[in-house]
């Protein structure tokens, strides 16, 4: 207490009670009054606080805070009045008054400013009137509300029902929408991922609005590049000039759909042959909303078709040109289809188009049937090819030669499914071939006779030799018989020789007769070395006569060839005769003729006749094989020509070479019989 007094009352001033002369009445008057004032003042801010907390809607409520503050400060001054009665803390009292003054002044100023705003607030009277009016209205409304209430309740019940129905429907619709969404998604993916078709949409003006992968694949543009661009981008300049893109849209708009095949351009400028379908898209009200465009790239197909058409055309032309008829046989069902021309070749009406194996075979000449059937059956395998010439007997009694060529088509299992081919009438060719063969044969004989004529002395010698042996042995035989005593062993020996040589003479004459005879060529299996040896036996003395040394080099173990003995002998005879002629004028060196035979690597037999005569100029090596070409004074120029014809008829080749040193070499080949070995 002492401490407090020291601080609050430095004893400089007198407590205020002194002014009242400590008159208890006066002091208490002040004390009680100040106390009541202070209590009242302190209670007001509390009440105000309470008020503004409760009535937050009161405008300008912040002013109550100021009121509170300055009333609180006023209360504090009154408390200080009481305190100062006993304690002379006038500085403290003054400080509180300063605070009170500041709060009061501030509040006063704010209040002044606030007044216009406060005046704008409706007055309680106006409020009251308005409230009254509202009240009346409210009462009206109340009545209406009641009526409504009833109706609302009714409607609510209906709505509830509708709502429930709707909920059901919404649920169902959600399901449907989900399904639709999924389906649309699938459809979108489908369209987008289609590679082989460009599927895209155009707006009504022809601008691209969608773009699928197929479009990118076919046209080369990515979606990003093309969307928004006009679809005339895909047309050639000439088409654009003709207004084709627009025309197409117009047609599509008018008729709903436009389709054409035409050339379009890719992004890189290359052309594609396309099938284009433009479809107009309309909404439910029938308004045009755009177009869908589907493009198919048919470039490859068109090329293939063009090629196919080309080859079909060629085939048709080839068939017409060759006069051949087409056939198509299904070995499984044994049904064949014949073209009109094919039927015609077989002497049938064009409508006879359906045939079978047996109906066909029936038309084949009986002599050729087995061969034809074997040829067909042999070709009836994967990649099997048929080529057979045969005679047919047409229903009109005509016999014709035909050639059928065909190919077999098999399934993957190798089962023949089709055999397709052509048949042509080769009767005339066969006749010509026959005539030619006969002419050749005649000519060959003439040539043979000429060659034989040249070799007369040689042939005479060949016949004479065995006769010499016969006669001489006969003479000897007589002497052995007449000897004393007769030497019968020698007699027998002589007779053996006589018989042998007599036969030899007969053989030689037979061979010469064969060469001279006009006999149709007949192919048999031969050993080339035998054929050559026989000719050498005939012409050998001609060689001796002309001081020609013969060297032979025959390969042993040569395969068999198939040929006409007489014709092949003629070839060799001719070559030997030519060689002798070529060496007649040669005196400066020995005359040598070498004849050799050997097998070549490619399955042929090569026969070589080489002389050392005057030779053949390299530039006329081929001419020597021409008919009537000769370097000899007496020659006809047919020998080599005929020889080559004969060799070629045997499936071989014949040619001449000029030797490096002297003379010429003639060679020819003969095919060996497959698989045959001597």
């Amino acid at each position: 207490m002492e401490f407090f007094r020291t601080i609050s009352s430095p004893n400089d001033f007198m407590p205020h009670g002194y002014c009242y002369l400590w008159d208890p009445g006066l002091v208490w008057l002040h004390v009680i009054s100040d106390f009541l004032i202070a209590v009242a003042y302190f209670s007001i801010p509390i009440t105000l606080m309470y008020f503004i907390r409760k009535r937050k809607d009161v405008p300008f409520n912040w002013i109550f805070i100021f009121f509170g503050m300055f009333i609180l400060a006023c209360g504090a001054t009154h408390v200080m009045e009481i305190w100062n009665l006993w304690h002379a803390d006038y500085w403290l009292s003054g400080g509180i008054k300063v605070i009170t003054a500041l709060a009061s002044v501030a509040t006063a100023i704010l209040l002044v400013r606030l007044i216009p705003h406060a005046l704008a607030l409706p007055s309680p009277e106006a409020m009251r009137l308005e409230i009254a009016e509202r009240k009346r209205a409210q009462e009206g409304l109340g009545k209406a509300k009641d009526e409504l209430e009833i109706r609302v309740q009714e409607r609510t019940a209906k709505l509830q029902k509708a709502n429930d129905d709707l909920s059901d429907e919404i649920l169902q619709r959600n399901f449907a929408e989900e399904a639709l969404r999924r389906s649309e998604e699938r459809f979108r993916l489908l369209v987008e991922r289609v590679q082989d078709y460009a599927i895209f949409m155009l707006d009504t003006s022809g601008r691209v609005t969608t773009w699928n992968q197929g479009a990118e694949h076919i046209n080369g543009y990515t979606a990003k590049e093309i969307i928004g661009l006009h679809f005339s981008q895909f047309y050639q300049a000439a088409d654009i000039q003709l207004g084709k893109p627009e025309t197409e849209l117009q047609i599509a708009a008018a008729e709903g759909r436009f389709e054409e095949y035409g050339w379009r351009l890719r992004k890189d400028g290359s052309k594609l042959w396309a099938n284009v379908i433009i479809t107009a898209l309309r909404n439910q009200r029938g308004e045009l909303i755009g177009f869908s465009k589907i493009t198919r790239d048919l470039t490859e197909q068109m090329r293939t078709e063009a090629a196919l058409r080309g080859s079909e055309e060629q085939l048709r032309m080839a068939q017409e040109a060759s006069g051949s008829g087409a056939w198509d046989w299904d070995p499984q069902s044994d049904l064949a289809t014949w073209s009109d021309r094919h039927s015609q070749i077989f002497g049938l009406e064009p409508h006879d188009v359906k045939h079978t194996w047996s109906s066909f075979v029936h038309l084949v000449d009986p002599e050729d049937r087995a061969r034809v059937q074997l040829a067909i059956l042999t070709a009836l395998k994967p990649h099997g090819a048929l080529e057979v010439e045969y005679r047919i007997n047409r229903p009109d009694g005509q016999a014709r030669w035909v050639m059928s060529k065909g190919r077999t088509y098999c399934d993957s299992a190798g089962e023949p499914m089709r055999m397709v081919g052509l048949t042509m009438d080769i009767t005339e060719r066969k006749q010509l071939e026959h005539d030619l063969l006969r002419t050749q044969s005649d000519l060959a004989r003439v040539s043979r006779l000429l060659t034989l004529g040249e070799l007369t002395s040689s042939i005479a010698h060949e016949v004479n030799q065995p006769l010499v042996a016969v006669v001489t042995n006969g003479d000897a035989c007589m002497r052995w018989l007449t000897a004393e005593p007769p030497n019968l062993d020698k007699v027998r020996e002589s007779l053996v020789w006589i018989v042998k040589e007599g036969k030899r003479a007969g053989e030689i004459i037979k061979r010469i007769r064969e060469l001279a005879k006009n006999k149709a060529p007949q192919k048999t299996e031969l050993l080339v070395n035998d054929v050559i040896t026989e000719v050498i036996n005939l012409a050998g003395s001609e060689l001796s006569n002309n001081q020609v040394t013969l060297r032979t080099d025959f390969a042993s173990d040569l395969p068999i060839v198939c040929g006409d003995r007489v014709q092949l002998q003629q070839v060799i005879l001719n070559l030997i005769a030519n060689a002798i002629d070529a060496m007649k004028s040669i005196h400066q060196h020995p005359r040598e003729l070498s004849i050799s035979s050997r097998a070549t690597d490619d399955g042929q037999i090569l026969i070589t006749v080489r002389d050392c005569g005057m030779g053949v100029e390299p530039n006329i090596l081929e001419n020597v094989f021409k008919a009537f070409f000769t370097t000899k004074k007496e020659g006809m120029g047919l020998g080599l020509s005929i020889s080559r014809t004969i060799v070629e008829a045997h499936g071989g080749r014949m040619w001449a070479l000029s030797n490096n040193d002297q003379g010429a070499t003639f060679q020819f080949t003969l095919p060996m019989v497959a698989g045959a070995h001597a």
Partner: protein, 208 residues
């Protein structure tokens, strides 16, 4: 015919023919050797006995006539009988000129052939005798001195001793002695014999 001492050679490339010829010749007892070609004949080791050669005109690689020339060139003296398939007059003439004994056309009569063979063998025998004589004469001639050869040449030329002496610059007596020596060494009795030998030896005969 002395068969033992003679051999007939046959060249023919036809085995039947050469065997037939062998058969015929053997039937009359003549020894025969046959050859397929002239080469075989040349290569063979032949006995040096009288005989002859039967040759076909046509031979492989060489004609019989050419072979005849070859033999002459090689100093192989053997009488040749040609046989040929066809009588070719010019060829015959050529062969005979070249010294062929005969030229027979096949088939020949056996007797003609055997006659030809006999003739040929005789000719060979004569030839061989002459050949022997010449060889002896040459041996004798080679024994003469050079002077004697000179004298012989003059004698054969018909010169008298006096002429020989004058020519050789010697006395007539000396010439006479030389002449006597020549006649003695050459074993001749008469001048004609000496002349004949000189001719055979092919000495140059000097005539006046």
């Amino acid at each position: 015919m002395n068969a033992v001492e003679t051999t007939v050679f046959v060249i023919d490339d036809d085995k039947a023919v050469r065997t037939a010829i062998r058969n015929l010749l053997e039937s009359v007892g003549i020894r025969v050797e046959t050859f397929n070609s002239p080469q075989d004949f040349l290569k063979a080791d032949r006995k040096n006995v009288p005989g002859c050669l039967v040759l076909d005109v046509r031979l492989q690689g060489i004609s019989g006539l050419d072979f005849q020339k070859q033999l002459a060139a090689a100093n192989i003296e053997i009488p040749i009988i040609f046989i040929t398939g066809h009588g070719d007059i010019p060829m015959t003439v050529q062969a005979m000129k070249a010294g062929a004994v005969d030229f027979l056309t096949k088939p020949f009569r056996d007797q003609d052939f055997l006659d030809a063979i006999q003739k040929a063998v005789e000719r060979d025998r004569d030839g061989r005798a002459q050949e022997a004589e010449v060889t002896e004469s040459r041996r004798r001639f080679n024994s003469l001195t050079p002077r004697e050869r000179e004298v012989m040449a003059l004698v054969v030329a018909g010169k008298l001793n006096k002429q020989i002496a004058a020519e050789l610059g010697t006395s007539e007596t000396t010439a006479k002695v030389h002449r006597g020596q020549v006649m003695k060494k050459m074993q001749v009795q008469s001048l004609p014999d000496l002349v004949r030998i000189a001719e055979r030896l092919g000495l140059p005969s000097q005539t006046c």
